[in-house]
């Protein structure tokens, strides 16, 4: 059973999607439980693999038993669970499971009558994201990338109205990214003759400073950047996530961009080696500047927003700058910070969008001005929201503090001070946003006790939404307290050997 676990991670949501779509024809009510069961199986397998990987090391699985044949090299497609991706696999399947439970009520109201297609696409998107994370084959990664992308275009377009145009722009940008990635894969394949990640990484050092390989590297990175909405490819993201249905945004915002960041990390750390970055200091410093710009610009745009969903989308954009910058510092604390932050940010963004979803469910809209008195109306939701914002700001002991600590350490070690300034500035901006929301939510209504007004009635979000939200917010603190254990047992081993002293 243990050797089958890696494939179970993908099969759970894939079968869930197929069954949800077909049973939907005669039993529409069945589609949600089917998807939840599929995701639960996937999460259980991913969680079990975290312990196995921490104890024994990487697990491999060859699809269809087509492994290596003597005299032929690699003939099959490999999927691998190693120290680099095991935590993200658990995070993606876990967040997807919680989100699936959370979205039940939202989907019933927002997308009444179309639930079964929504859940089929939801599950298919998770399949794609898990596939990108788990695969050990660069072309297979492209296929999973497009599975995830196609389902997310549809999930965004469910928002109707302006969402169509947002989804169309995302489609153009996303396809361009995937095509650039595929072109890069072509260069790598032409030069190495293999698509297997382990094989490529064994061949790349022998080829030395090959220009074709370098072009491939740049193209793959450009593709990943377009997919993750890294500055200057960020244009599609705020509209897409703000106009998507809340239920879609709650799944897309935490996971889709983070998995693209993982793709970049995988290419930088495993497929090519980290030496590649250290050998091209010009590009490295350019990317670091771009990351700082991404963080600062996105932070200031988030400050000017009046719509809560758009504000959150710009926060997502600034967080992407953290991870790209951390990875391109190419030293030990920087890479550790980037790897921790991929998981931490997935959890933080998920909690943020869940809390916003609860607010939207009760208030009907997400303008900042509508938040008057919201702290009296929905105290539990707002408590979760404040914890999440604290994590995004980087208040200990939440997970945001620890990943940011590693990133700042890495930037200081590399002497990249503009990145340190950008990180601190972005924390400051998020603190301002939090205090603004507290100010609106608490003080812009006459206090019931003083003015003699009738008390604002408690009107919490339904429990099926509230419990996942609170669980996610508590998870941020748990993840923060567990950061050092995770780093010592898993993430340190994912770092390239050249960096670990």
């Amino acid at each position: 059973m243990r050797e089958q676990l890696p494939i179970v991670i993908i099969l759970g949501p894939l079968l869930g999607a197929v069954l949800a779509a077909f049973t939907g024809w005669f039993r529409p009510k069945l589609s949600h439980p089917l998807v939840v069961v599929g995701l639960a199986i996937s999460f259980a397998a991913a969680l079990k693999l975290v312990f196995i990987v921490a104890a024994v090391g990487a697990q491999e699985y060859w699809l269809g038993g087509w492994g290596t044949k003597p005299g032929h090299g690699v003939v099959g497609i490999q999927i691998t669970v190693d120290h680099l991706n095991t935590l993200l696999l658990a995070a993606v399947s876990g967040i997807a499971l919680l989100t699936a439970l959370y979205t039940k009520r939202l989907v019933d109201t927002e997308l009444a009558g179309r639930q079964r297609y929504f859940y089929a696409l939801f599950s298919l998107l998770v399949t794609g994201l898990l596939g990108i994370t788990i695969t050990g084959d660069i072309f297979n990664l492209y296929v999973f990338m497009e599975i995830a992308a196609l389902s997310s275009y549809a999930l965004i377009a469910y928002g109707r109205g302006r969402a169509y145009m947002a989804a169309f722009n995302y489609l153009i940008m996303g396809t361009m990214g995937a095509c650039l990635y595929l072109l890069g894969v072509g260069f790598v394949f032409a030069k190495t003759g293999t698509l297997n990640i382990d094989d490529v990484s064994a061949i790349v050092p022998a080829l030395g400073q090959s220009q074709a390989l370098f072009v491939g590297f740049v193209l793959i990175l450009l593709g990943a950047w377009a997919k993750m909405a890294f500055f200057p490819f960020h244009g599609w993201l705020p509209n897409a996530y703000a106009h998507a249905p809340t239920a879609s945004a709650a799944l897309l915002a935490p996971l889709a961009t983070k998995v693209a960041v993982y793709t970049m990390l995988r290419v930088m750390v495993t497929v090519y080696s980290i030496d590649y970055i250290n050998h091209s200091p010009g590009i490295q410093s350019a990317v670091l500047y771009l990351s700082s710009i991404a963080i600062v610009v996105a932070s200031f745009f988030s400050l000017t927003q009046t719509n809560l969903k758009k504000l959150a989308s710009y926060i997502v954009l600034s967080e992407i700058g953290y991870m790209v910058g951390g990875a391109w510092l190419a030293n030990k604390p920087g890479l550790t910070g980037a790897m921790v932050h991929v998981v931490a940010d997935a959890a933080m963004t998920s909690a943020l969008f869940m809390a916003i979803g609860c607010i939207v469910y009760r208030l009907g809209q997400a303008q900042l001005d509508d938040l008057k008195g919201v702290f009296f109306k929905m105290p539990v939701t707002m408590a979760a929201f404040v914890v999440t914002m604290a994590a995004l700001i980087g208040v200990p002991p939440t997970c945001g503090f620890f990943s940011k600590w590693y990133l700042i350490q890495g930037a200081a070690q590399a002497g990249v001070w503009h990145f340190v300034v950008a990180l601190l500035l972005s924390s400051l901006v998020k603190a301002i946003i939090l205090f603004r929301i507290i100010e609106i939510g608490y003080n812009r209504v006459p206090h019931p006790a003083i003015e003699g007004n009738p008390a604002i009635p408690r009107n919490e979000a339904p429990l099926s939404m509230l419990i996942p939200t609170v669980a996610m917010a508590l998870g941020l603190i748990a993840l923060g307290l567990g950061t050092s254990t995770l780093v010592n047992t898993i993430i340190t081993k994912a770092l390239p050997a050249a960096l670990t002293p």
């Binding site: 072309f139 497009e146 109205g161 169509y164 489609l171 153009i172 995937a178 095509c179 072509g186 394949f189």
Partner: protein, 126 residues
């Protein structure tokens, strides 16, 4: 120049990709953007097929392959089948993407009676 003539397929690949990229990014018409996307993907398909092609190569099918009794022939003389198989997948992906893109364009047209990006944005601002 001789080098270019010998590798004229790569020249065509570059031209196709430039046309595709330009019309994806610079065109205002949504349908033209979709066409650009298809042209870009065609360029990539041609690129992959080109890197797998070989003059006077053997067909990569061996009759005795099923029972593994064949002697491995000179690999350098066999065409690489992998690129064509990869592109079969890429064609499927491309068709699916184009389908979704056109469906979205149709929905947008129903709303705004226009395919022009500027007009649509103007409409949305109202």
């Amino acid at each position: 120049m001789e080098n270019l003539m010998a590798n004229f397929n790569y020249v065509i690949v570059v031209v196709l990709m430039m046309i595709g990229l330009w019309s994806m990014l610079a065109q205002k018409n949504l349908i033209k953007k979709c066409i650009g996307m298809a042209i870009f993907q065609t360029g990539i398909i041609l690129f992959f097929i080109s890197i797998g092609a070989k003059d006077n190569a053997l067909v990569p099918i061996l009759a005795e392959a099923a029972n593994h009794t064949y002697a491995v022939p000179d690999v350098a003389k066999i065409a690489n089948p992998l690129t064509q198989i990869l592109m079969l997948t890429a064609i499927v992906v491309g068709v699916a993407t184009l389908g979704v893109g056109l469906a979205l364009a149709q929905k947008i047209y129903q709303q705004h009676s226009s395919f022009d990006e500027d007009e649509i944005l103007e409409n949305q601002r109202k």
